[in-house]
Symmetry: C2
Subunit: 210 residues, 2 copies
């Protein structure tokens, strides 16, 4: 399988991590995102949404991290729910993550780290951070009495929700403020196959610091 | 079935519309959203995410519009894809809508219409409108040579993507600017069972104009 990706994309990381943890053979295809490659006509022919990641498996082309995660789980029988109710619970957190968590972190982290300071739109970062605080609260409360986001073992719901939370660039999230999230991230990182995003995928930008 | 909802919620509308179009018996339970009911401890006991909609079907409680739409389609055999590939395509557009379209419209429309003018955060509305323009472009281009978002007939992917697009309150979207979206909205509105959001669910705020 091939995954169109770049290191800074948390949405691509979710899929790269699932491929590793499901023990599948895969190869990254680097997308030069910050030079606009994902918006080029050539890339739009692969994904009209102009986004990373894209997974190619033979004749099957898939986009949207939630769809790719569901495909990996269905294909391997790993990282999914064990009943219809558990699968719906997994899907619920995949949607919540897309709707409330990863989307907002992706934008906030982009504005704070990958855009020149003089191009940052006034007022947007604190607004998004306020919305994110509400999302961190929901996730931290949810993890108060449980080890995993859905069900009794790690699932693609965990891999989706953690997608942006291991990155080192600042975006207003300090693990120490959210102890249940902090411990859960440690649990995921202790699993066989776990790797840091920058060890799985080539960065599109050079690291700012050593 | 019971749907926790209020008229202004496009996410609730998606589900109410699917219930109508799948010809199911359902009853709305009004949530007084703008008075904070969705964030109350009583409501959080129903949905820890503090969000509308919630669908109750006997012992089953479901949240996230994407999960509810998938449940309605699976239960009735209506409004879904006809093959595994079509179902993945439906899911892809559900995720895209949650990630790029409805989330951003919901926030923009809230800031422009349901929040006092002196509380609107500076700079946020034009920023979100810029991101939305990119999303409208993707959807409008996708609909250039097809009648429905996924497959050969209407599916829950259409009902998800249209969720906020029939509302009268201004948020920077003019149907005339997006002719393929405009015609597609007319096609959906011509289907049996279609109703306007304010004819399906009680508003939480009085209408600003007659």
């Amino acid at each position: 399988m091939k995954l169109y990706c770049f290191g800074e994309s948390g949405n691509a990381y979710k899929c790269a991590l699932a491929l590793e943890m499901a023990d599948l053979e895969w190869e990254p295809i680097h997308v030069d995102f910050f030079k606009g490659e994902a918006r080029s006509p050539e890339y739009r022919a692969i994904n009209e949404m102009g986004e990373v990641p894209v997974l190619i498996d033979g004749d099957t082309t898939l986009t949207q991290s939630g769809v790719i995660l569901d495909y990996i789980s269905s294909k391997t029988g790993k990282l999914g729910g064990r009943s219809a109710a558990e699968r719906r619970e997994v899907l619920r957190w995949l949607f919540w993550d897309n709707h409330k968590l990863s989307t907002q972190i992706g934008t906030t982290r982009f504005l704070m780290n990958f855009l020149a300071a003089d191009k940052r739109p006034e007022g947007v970062i604190p607004f998004l951070q306020g919305r994110l605080k509400a999302a961190y609260t929901v996730l931290n409360d949810h993890l108060a009495n449980r080890n995993w986001v859905a069900g009794e073992a790690v699932t693609i719901a965990d891999l989706s929700c953690c997608g942006y939370l291991y990155y080192p660039e600042p975006y207003g999230f300090d693990r120490a403020d959210w102890p249940n999230i902090d411990h859960w991230l440690d649990r995921i990182a202790a699993l066989p196959g776990w790797k840091h995003p920058y060890d799985l995928m080539q960065r599109a930008l050079p690291a700012a610091t050593a």
